[in-house]
Symmetry: C2
Subunit: 223 residues, 2 copies
Amino acid sequence: MTQHCYDYPHPAVTTDIALFTIRDERLAVLLVRRAGEPFKGCWALPGGFVEPNECLEDGALRELAEETGVTGVYLEQLYTFGKPDRDPRERIISVAYYALAPSELLTPVAGSDAADVAWFDLDALPSLAFDHAEVIALAQQRLRAKLDYSTVAFGFMQPEFTLGELQKVYETIRGEALDKRNFRKHMLALDLLAETGTSRRVGNHRPAKLYRVAHPGAVLYIK
Amino acid sequence: MTQHCYDYPHPAVTTDIALFTIRDERLAVLLVRRAGEPFKGCWALPGGFVEPNECLEDGALRELAEETGVTGVYLEQLYTFGKPDRDPRERIISVAYYALAPSELLTPVAGSDAADVAWFDLDALPSLAFDHAEVIALAQQRLRAKLDYSTVAFGFMQPEFTLGELQKVYETIRGEALDKRNFRKHMLALDLLAETGTSRRVGNHRPAKLYRVAHPGAVLYIK
DNA sequence: TTGACATAGTGTTGTTGCAACACTATCTTG
DNA sequence: CAAGATAGTGTTGCAACAACACTATGTCAA
């Protein structure tokens, strides 16, 4: 293998991705079981080294796809972790991202660098490699904060969804029940949702109107 | 000089610091004139390569001190910039920080790597090296956003300050005048300020009571 | 000494946004 | 056709916020 040499020491740079979804009305994060050292056999966030010619965000998406088979998610930079001793091998600086996806669309499969892939409820995390517990905690905090002044929650929704489903997502992330009438008022007042005209029949009760995001990618911040 | 070699290519990692202050009721940022290539003679944010054994934040503070002589500022991570071609020399990933300081305490002096140091009003920036214009724009956006739900503004204040001075800071960052009575009500309601008991005589008018932050470092987020 | 000037300091009121609250509608299933 | 389950819909009280004007206390100059 060819060597890559520099006049000054260079740290390695990785991306790590905390991909959240909601399963069974619980917030869950996607973890991979590490196939190699260090922390072999330990659960960790998907991620890996940034390639020389890709930007950080592309690297994050590539690693996520390679290790878990997941594509097409909402992705946002979270924080960069750089304590000198956070990796026992060498100095590794990690640019952490968090991502959101509707679990229905996802079929994670273990990739080359991962022995296994699985969803974990956030309140039942296993022991994690590196400082990944810290990363996840920060991501959850950010997610909760953005719920109030942005439309991140839409990242968990399928293309068409009911107001009841959307409310469940908000309730899950905030960890508390919300008033149905107030919730609908707020949401519809944002002028971000459009009725599809169809409705979804599920369970032995009245079908719910389906909505979609009216201006996809347009408005992300509220007010 | 000894070479540092790795099996895989490693990017270089730098920190860049956007240090803001308020001068003459205008928001200003500290820039250095680059002493070396690339962009020699061009204005840029202070910053530089991260040392092998320092964490990112320490690196940012060290570079700021080395290039500008400035120490003891409020510092917070902003964003990590990593487009592959953002530096013509090699792949360089920059972890950007923003910092706040009261201008009265600062006496920036050009350091080893900088030919010159100067404050620039944000509405009169020169042409900047690398993607530093983008960094500054993002930092300003973040600063404005945090003004509403945090106490970042205190980062611009001297240890003792009047409510009038504090209001001027808010008005400068938001770019609009605020109602004096409402502003004082809000601020005092936070229970973060304590009267020093003394007052400051300046100009031909009634002296103003001096305040200090009541619980330094304690509460950073409002409600 | 006094009047002009400049900022410090202080409460009330109307409005608006938000939270609390219960019933009817529509479908499925037994 | 009755029971059960979620969909869908308005009003009211309250609290937070915005709008608004005058007095207080100092300096300075005539």
